[in-house]
Homo-oligomer: 153 residues x 2
Amino acid sequence: MPDDFDPTIFKPGQLLARGVCRHLLTHDFVSVEELTPERGLRVDVMALGRKQEVWVVECKSSRADFQSDHKWQNYLPYCDRFFWAVDEDFPVELLPEETGLIIADAYDAEIVRMSPETKLAAPRRKVMVAKFARHAALRAHAARDPGITSFSL
Amino acid sequence: MPDDFDPTIFKPGQLLARGVCRHLLTHDFVSVEELTPERGLRVDVMALGRKQEVWVVECKSSRADFQSDHKWQNYLPYCDRFFWAVDEDFPVELLPEETGLIIADAYDAEIVRMSPETKLAAPRRKVMVAKFARHAALRAHAARDPGITSFSL
């Protein structure tokens, strides 16, 4: 069913991101992976809703992966809602309660705890939607024309 | 040089769009193809600049292709600048003077006449950037995960 999908070429966090992005479509959110909101920060998944809502999802494949992340609070100013995505065996009691929680595998995911909302100010939202647009367009462009010189956002 | 590019699988207009999108990168514009600004309209190329400028490029492979296009003026309300892209053999005297002109092939392009600017109102710009973002993200998503169910914007 998952055509020629080869999970061995993905890192564990990328497998979670794959399921997360699929699931977010069912909430009418489109997603990109590995977006840089500012120099030195890179979010695993950034999603954009119909009303320009911005969600960030950090994908953690293990306790060690979570505990080594000292940057996640820096992502909060760039989104309306923040989620963790973990697999079903992850010790979810480690995760801060005031964040959203998504249980994922490579094929799908489910939001099991909605994140509280902290609305972006309008100017920041405008900047983030534009960053999202440029990031997504470059990825789509590279996919349809691998001959383009890659350049960063 | 153009790796495994096979021009025979593209329509003539798509070959022009390919060169156009490459060239627009050098102006720091990212591009998507075949975006629907509203039901019944589909632009060949929509490009987005650093300051959220929106450009539309219609790609015409022949005189007949141009003369059968009765919709192009409907695209003007969705962009700051409007361009035609044609190949070097196209009879450019057919094209309206108050539009931009790009000479293109499948590998590159050049803006030979800048379009006059008719600035979008802020609310329309916001809508177009969001449409661009969703369109681009869905295309990028389908490229990295062909297993997603396709759905239209």
